[in-house]
Every structure is written in C-alpha cells, then in structure tokens.
C-alpha cells in the first residue's frame, strides 16, 4: 500500500504535483502515474513537498528516476515548500542542483 497520494493540477502553463504522505519505495507507483499525467503535454513541472511527511533513500531513488526522465524530455522541474530537513537531504544528495527551489508564498 502506498503511503502517498500525488495529485496533479495545472496552473500558469505548468503542471503542479502535490505530494501528501511518505515518499518511500511504495511511492513509485503514485509518483510515476502523477508524473506521466503532468508531463503528457510537455509542460514544466512543480512538485509541492509541503505535505511530504517522510523521505528515505528508496524515495530518493524514485525522484532521481523522474529527474532522469525530465532530463531526457527537456522538462524543467521545480521543488516547492521543502522544509529544512528535506532541503538538507536534497542538498547533500545534490538533487537540489537539478531543481529550482520555490516557496508557495
């Protein structure tokens, strides 16, 4: 059972993926489905991490898979509302280098 819901919205010519819950191994399925929906028209993507409660190395592997797909398809990815801890994780894994950092306010 995934502990994550990933919903897709479209605004300002970009696709917004809102994550709610845990990004671990089981996040692969909902995240990939949301990613496919978000990128179907080749739009750039914002991922909202404001309601992400947990992230582990398996979840990082899933995110890296999405970023690899973004690279191939020329999709720009931004990360929104990362809290300090997750931002630290993104920085030490250097995922932060591949995403624009945003806040929602």
């Amino acid at each position: 059972m995934p502990d994550l819901t990933a919903t897709v919205e479209h605004a300002d010519g970009r696709a917004l993926i809102v994550l709610d819950g845990e990004v671990n191994r089981t996040a692969s399925e909902p995240l990939r489905a949301a990613w496919a929906e978000a990128t179907v028209d080749g739009q750039d993507v914002v991922i909202d991490f404001g309601k992400m409660t947990y992230l582990n190395s398996s979840g990082i592997a899933v995110l890296v898979g999405l970023l690899a797909d973004a690279r191939v398809n020329g999709v720009a990815v931004a990360a929104r509302d990362l809290d300090d801890h997750f931002r630290h994780v993104f920085e030490i894994t250097r995922i932060a280098d591949l995403m624009e950092m945003e806040t929602s306010s």
Binding site: S57, A61, V64, R71
Partner: protein, 522 residues
C-alpha cells in the same frame, strides 16, 4: 479404493481342508545371505529350492513359509510377500506364480513411495521439533537477559551477548541492590538448548532472590548452590561469577563458582584475582571464597564466558586465557566490548562459526575527569528493540529510537537527521542483512555515553554484507541512466550523523551511528 475383508460363514474352512492362516512376519537381519538371493530373484522363489546356511530361512520355514515373492523397486529389495501352503495343498502353479510376480511388480513401487513418504514425514517432524526447541530456548534465554542495563553515576556498564546457533546456556544479570550497590552476574550452564535455558532461568531467579536478602556474594552463591543441587538434572551444572560493586568507593567483592576469572584493567595492566569455589549444582554444602578488589578511577572489570578464550583461528589454535589477557591489555580502556570484538574477529577470521554463546559484561569507573551527568541514562543502554525484517517498516523503528535518544539528551534540531540515519541503517539491515526474512529481527540499541549517543543496528548477515561504501553516489551517472537510481542509503546515513562505523562478522553486520553531544555543565 478400500480393501475390505469380509468374514462370512462361506469363509469357514470346508471339512478336510487346512484352515487359512496368516504366516507370521519374519524379521531378516541385515547381512543375512538370504537377502542377496531374494534381491536377485526374477520372480517368486520356492523356499525348498534354496540351499543356503541362513538363520532367516530357518525361521521362515518354521513359520510355514513356502513361497517368497520379493518386492523390488528400482533394483532395491524393499520387502517380501511370504506365502504358506495353498489351501488346496497343491503346489503353486505357473499361473499362480505369474500372477504373484505381476502383483509384486505393481505393489513394489507403490510400497516404496509409501515408505519414502513416511520417512520424509518423520524427518520433517524431527526438524520441526528441533526448530521449535531452538525457538523456545532462545525465547527463554532472551527473556531473562536484562534489556536495559542501568549504571550507577560515575560508572559505565556495558553488556554484550551473542547466542550461538544452537543456543547455549550463557546468562548475565545486573541487579539493583540495597544501599545503591550493584550486583553483577555472569554464568554459563553446561549443555545447550532448552534444558540449559531452563537451568539458566532457575539459577537466575534463585540468585536474584538471594542477592536481595544476603549481602555477601559467597553466601549468595552458597544459597543458590543448595537450592539448585536437588533440582538440577544429572551431569548438568552452572559456572557463575557473582560480585557486588559499591559504586561510591569502587570496591568490588566477588565469589566465583568455577567461572572464568574476572579480568581487571588498570592503566594498561591486567590482573585476574582468583576466588575459588565449585560450580553451582554439583555438590551440596559447597562454600565460596570471597575476594575484594578496588577499582580505581579509569579502571575496568571484564567478566566473560568461555566462547572468548575458546575461540580458535583458522589453524584451530585457541585464543586461550593468555590471548584474552593480551586483548584486554591492548585496549585503551574505551569501549572494551568493541575492542574485544574487533580483536576476536581479527584472530578467528571472518569464517569462524561461533560454537557457544558469547557474553561480556564490562564495568568501567569513570576517570572523574570528564563530566558525568546526573542523567539516569548516563553511560548506559537506554533502548533495546528487535524489529522483524518487513519492508517499509523502518520508519517506526527510527521513530522509537529518536524518542529514546531525545529523552537521553539528543537536541531537537538533530531529531530528524537521526531519524533518517536510523531508518537507512535499519532498511539496509532488513534488506541486505536479513533478506527481509520476517522472523529474523534487526536488533537496535541506543547507548548514552558521556559526550555521545550511539545507535547500534545489528542484523544476522543471512543475505550477506550490508553496503559499506560511503562514497557519494554519482547523481549524474544515475540521471544519465548509467547507474541504478538506488544506492543512497549509507551515504545518506553518513551525512546525517557525526560518525558511522560498519563491521561484519560471522554473526552478522553491525552499523553504529554516533551523534556527539555537547555536555552542558550546568
């Protein structure tokens, strides 16, 4: 299909005919020459036509056997059909023999299958019994070993226990005694498995009760011995060292029922004070000499079980007591348990199969130079848990660890980092160490020492070694699809705490996560 034997009047013998009767079974001992004859026969054999010295043939003739139909499956003789005289008193005809041969050729494979099934069922039952017994022994033992070892202020007490595959009878205990004194127990019951675990459990209970009422360790052992002697099974006994520490002045008064001598390390010098006494449960009325030593600041007492001196290297040489002394004296006095485990692994090599339980209890008096907090968790294990190896459950374990670590002084801003580090180490242990075998637990302990918190994550090493390469994963290569996207765990853990140590030995992998704490002197 069912075979039914109907007994009606029609079955009654006609007058003048011999009664049908069942030929008594005859056991044929292995090696009887008749077996070779039957095994090589191509069909039914007339007993009268065999000219052979054979006790089995004698008995078969006495039992009234006339014709023997060997049952042979895959070239192996698996049974005999023994027939007496025909009811008609006529000799067996060629048709009879053909029928019997055909019957035998069909019955033999079926009989062989039945035999194999029965053998396998017996083996499976035997295996289940052995495994159930092992589980029971492990349960008894682990339930009786203390989980949280509380050290008095100014002292650090560290216990290490690693069961052998076939659980031995090691035990240790740390007792809170009146007047703030602390009782230390290390023992070893002869024998293994459930009997040893039961004797260990009763020894421990009797000792616990006696220690609360009697102050002198020698008298405590006398009492325990007298209570054990009538109950302990023949040829079983327990060695046991019991000592009482007064933490205020460092006196350690102990008595020894045939156990290894305590090893005391002060400024790099090792002494092994000797107190004599018979093992527990051997002789009624045994008495136990008491010896008192004083542990100065910085001094360490090591109590250990036989698995340490009896460990052997790849050439079969034992470590021995001299080896234990060398190992202890080469320690810098810090983390003696870790030091001994490293020395042991270096001596035995990685392929050593630990034949007996391995137990250490280490008690160290602080030098008095470092700050010793009044924190009751100071210098001791504050949490010990075992978690089944189930995917996606690492977070619960990490949360428990963080709770215990917070209570033991982990600053709030370190909580989530430690949670991530523990989650990664536990995931590695569950997956790479235990292969996600649910019934094989990952053992996690949190220890608070002056200036540091250490989380130890241990697995059984069934699926191999956990990764130890902590180089930064190559994100670019992963993005370009040249490397798998996985492989972040240990790197992540390493980035979240001050130090990560990994080690591997025959009993499994150990990962230590260390967070240094600023001690406040307030």
């Amino acid at each position: 299909m069912k075979w039914r034997r109907r007994r009606t009047d029609e079955d009654s013998p006609s007058p003048g005919r011999p009664s049908p009767r069942v030929v008594d079974p005859v056991d044929i001992p292995e090696g009887d020459p008749a077996l070779a004859v039957f095994a090589s026969a191509s069909g039914p054999v007339d007993l009268d036509e065999i000219d052979l010295e054979s006790p089995a043939l004698e008995r078969m003739r006495e039992a009234g056997v006339q014709l023997v139909v060997p049952l042979v499956a895959q070239g192996e003789l698996i049974g005999l059909l023994n027939l007496g005289h025909r009811l008609s008193e006529q000799p067996y005809s060629t048709d009879d023999r053909r029928l019997l041969a055909s019957l035998a050729s069909q019955a033999a494979p079926a009989l062989r299958v039945a035999q194999l099934v029965r053998e396998q069922e017996q083996e499976a039952r035997q295996r289940e019994r052995v495994e159930a017994e092992l589980r029971v022994a492990t349960l008894i033992q682990q339930n009786f070993l203390p989980r949280d070892v509380q050290a008095p202020t100014g002292w650090q007490i560290d216990a290490f226990y690693r069961p052998a595959r076939e659980v031995g009878g090691d035990f240790y205990d740390v007792l809170d005694l009146p007047d703030g004194r602390v009782g230390l127990v290390v023992g070893d019951v002869t024998d293994k498995g459930v009997p040893a675990a039961l004797v260990m459990a009763s020894t421990r209970s009797v000792l616990r009760a006696a220690a609360q009422r009697i102050m002198d360790p020698g008298k405590v052992l006398e009492r325990v011995n007298d209570q054990l002697v009538p109950d302990i099974p023949d040829a079983m006994f327990a060695t046991c060292l019991y000592g009482v520490l007064d933490p205020t002045d460092g006196t350690f008064r102990f008595a020894n029922a045939g156990h290894n001598l305590p090893s005391i390390l002060v400024d790099g010098e090792v002494t092994e004070p000797r107190a004599t006494g018979m093992p527990l449960g051997m002789l009624p009325g045994s008495s136990y000499e008491e010896v008192e030593v004083t542990i100065p600041p910085g001094g360490t007492v090591l109590l250990y079980s036989d698995a340490l001196p009896e460990a052997h290297d790849s050439d079969g040489r034992m470590l021995g007591f001299a080896g234990v002394r060398d190992a202890v004296s080469s320690s810098d006095g810090q983390d003696l348990v870790g030091h001994l485990l490293r020395r042991l692994e270096a001596f035995t090599g990685p392929d050593w199969e630990q034949e007996d339980d391995l137990t250490f209890v280490v008690m160290q008096r602080s030098t008095g130079r470092e700050h010793v907090s009044d924190d009751p968790g100071g210098g001791s294990v504050v949490l010990r848990i075992e978690a089944p190896s189930i995917p996606d459950t690492e977070r619960q374990v990490a949360e428990q660890v963080v709770e215990a670590a917070s209570a033991a002084g982990l600053p709030d801003d370190q909580r989530r980092r430690l949670e991530t580090a523990v989650a990664e180490a536990v995931m590695n242990a569950m997956e790479h160490g235990n292969g996600f075998q649910e019934d094989v637990p990952v053992r996690v302990a949190v220890r608070r020492d002056p200036g540091a918190l250490t989380v130890t994550v241990e697995d059984a090493g069934l699926a191999g070694a956990v990764p130890t390469d902590v180089d930064r994963p190559d994100l670019e290569a992963k993005i370009r699809g040249e490397q798998p996207t996985r492989g972040w765990g240990l790197f992540l853990a390493e980035s979240m705490v001050d130090e990560v140590r990994t080690s591997h030995d025959p009993s499994g992998n150990t990962t230590e996560l260390i967070v240094r704490l600023e001690e406040d002197d307030a």
